[in-house]
């Protein structure tokens, strides 16, 4: 992935790419599936499905311990996936890539290790108003345990962070800033480079929740200079149950371990245990081997298409969908940030999101309805829920037409 990818990639061939996703050819309630719930989870290409299947049918075994061939093959595939993750986000070392269950576990890991060791009573942690619950609750729990204080960056009516308010929140008390790269409920792309630089001026470390970002934009943790970056495989066309915590090596080395168990130790006696080196120190127990190897295949797949090409295409989809949505009488977009990823969150005058979700499902269209695990966002906009269509690179303008028609049909039921 580099900035020339968009130029060197021939015209984005969405029809060909769709062939890689077997699920996209199924029907739902007798209609062709229109899958627009990609922010919840993405679909998986054959390349990923077959990689996982190959692991189980050809070299399934435990890693890092056996001397036999299968274990060597599995270990090498597992560690190769770590290197793929390293280069995917441009980390400086594969020691900085910790495999976890997903973004949620990654954030909990930081809260429970770095947080407990470094954040004390009276210290302040800053999150934003648009965070997913998984980037709020672990910090709240930490605050309850150690007496730290949670501060919240407010957002404006467009769903953008109010950076002046962020600047005012920062002080010598600020020890950690935890912000999402892209909001799952609003689609807003946050200015994380600026957020990180400002936090560093106050010696605070920064945790970026990248769950929504990695499928849509290329990440360079070194140029961002972020301290921690978390993402999930399943939103990136890989399997569920696996994700990555990136952390700067010096921070990870100084942190206490997360869970105790096998693989994270060098030597155990009843008097003392010596912990293993990075990254194994944070990977106790048999990990999700198939998941990690599958994530590696997903990264290969996405990298071959190129994230810049993906971002360009998805931006086109978003503009097309936004324009079409605005022609629908009674529809109000929630989240109109200037810098936005391919997420269209909205409410309607006379149709509740859940009824819309059910009616669209009847047309084979999958969208998400509800609070999107971001209840403070719903409170901010004084709504109980939104309907959310979220696009991936395999979606088409035709599918957006089907969505718009479905919304018009739903209106007819209630108006």
């Amino acid at each position: 992935m580099n900035s020339t990818a968009a130029l060197t990639t021939p015209a984005f061939n969405v029809d060909a790419l769709r062939q890689d996703f077997p699920i996209l050819s199924r029907a739902v309630r007798g209609k062709p599936l229109v899958y627009l719930d990609n922010a919840a989870t993405s679909q998986k290409p054959t390349q990923v499905i077959e990689t996982i299947s190959r692991y189980y049918s050809e070299y399934n075994s435990n890693i890092h311990r056996g001397v036999h061939s299968l274990s060597e093959e599995a270990t090498s595939a597992y560690e190769a996936a770590r290197e793929k993750c390293q280069s995917f986000i441009n980390a400086s070392s594969d020691k900085e890539i910790i495999f976890v269950k997903g973004t949620t576990e990654a954030i909990n890991l930081v809260a429970n290790t770095y947080g407990r060791a470094n954040i004390k009573a009276g210290d302040e942690i800053i999150v934003s108003w648009m965070e997913h619950h998984s980037n709020i609750v672990p910090w709240q729990m930490l605050c309850e345990q150690n007496g730290a204080v949670l501060k919240v960056i407010p957002i404006n009516d467009a769903g953008e962070l109010i950076m002046d308010e962020y600047r005012k929140l920062l002080s010598s008390k600020t020890k950690l800033v935890a912000v999402g790269h892209i909001s799952n409920a609003l689609g807003s792309i946050n200015p994380i480079k600026e957020i990180i630089d400002l936090a560093h001026q106050h010696d605070a470390v920064v945790v970026i929740d990248g769950a929504q970002a990695t499928p849509h934009t290329s990440i360079d943790v070194q140029s961002l200079d972020c301290d921690f970056y978390a993402f999930s495989s399943h939103k990136l066309f890989g399997p569920t149950g696996v994700g990555v915590l990136y952390g700067k090596q010096a921070l990870l080395e100084a942190m206490p371990p997360y869970q105790g168990g096998g693989d994270m130790i060098k030597m155990v006696t009843f008097e003392k245990t010596m912990y293993n080196e990075l990254p194994h120190k944070f990977e106790a127990g048999t990990p999700n081997i198939a998941g990690v190897i599958g994530l590696g295949a997903a990264i290969d797949y996405v990298s071959e298409i190129g994230l810049d090409a993906i971002a360009t295409y998805e931006h086109e989809l978003l503009e097309y969908a936004t324009e079409a949505a605005l022609t629908i009488d009674g529809l109000r977009l929630i989240g109109t940030a200037r810098n936005k990823a391919s997420i269209l969150s909205f409410v309607m005058d006379k149709v509740h999101p859940h009824d819309l979700g059910t009616i669209l499902d009847h047309n084979g269209i999958a969208i998400r309805t509800g609070h999107h695990c971001a209840m403070p966002v719903m409170d901010r906009f004084e709504i109980p829920a939104t309907a959310r269509a979220s696009f991936a690179f395999y979606n088409t303008k035709h599918e957006i037409d089907v969505l718009i028609e479905g919304i018009e049909n739903a209106k007819k039921v209630f108006c």
Binding site: R29, G30, H352, P353, H354, D355, T358, I359, D361, H362, T369, G370, H371, M375, M378, P384, A385, V413, F414
Partner: protein, 149 residues
């Protein structure tokens, strides 16, 4: 094949558009809030009791068409019923929306039977039953808000 109109029947659309017994009650005997954290549906039930009998009942709150229509129809059906009768109807209603309905005593349900289509959408069952769970708890004397989760 199941038709969408079986779920959003005219009577349901009508109860959603103009819910009956909607609004806060002056000096109720019992008030209880019900909340569905999955979708944000929230309603408050107000009850006036005459001994064991529901003398008056109303609700307010916000939710999807299924939850509003269900609360509207439930409150209509509950006026004058005893707590025991209410329980019986609730059991029948629950059976109606969660099973194939073969054990349902439809005489007891009346208009409420219009919500049978919900059974085709398991994720929507809680929308239809939120008001009933809230009523059940209110009749049992529960005072803290109830949640479907």
């Amino acid at each position: 094949m199941f038709d969408l109109k079986d779920l959003y029947q005219e009577v349901i659309v009508d109860h959603n558009r103009s819910p009956r017994n909607f609004g806060k009650m002056e000096s109720p005997d019992r008030t209880l809030e019900g909340f569905n954290p999955l979708c944000g549906d929230r309603l408050t039930l107000y009850l006036k009791m005459e001994g064991e009998q529901i003398d008056d009942i109303s609700f307010d709150g916000s939710g999807c068409a299924i939850s509003v229509a269900s609360a509207s129809m439930m409150t209509d059906a509950m006026k004058g019923k005893t707590a025991k009768e209410a329980e019986e109807i609730f059991n029948n209603f629950h059976e109606l929306v969660t099973t194939d309905g073969s054990n349902v005593d439809s005489d007891k349900l009346g208009k409420l039977a219009a919500l049978a289509g919900v059974r085709e959408y398991p994720t929507r069952v809680k929308c239809a039953t939120l008001c009933w769970h809230t009523l059940h708890s209110a009749l049992e004397g529960e005072q803290t808000a109830i949640s479907t989760e």
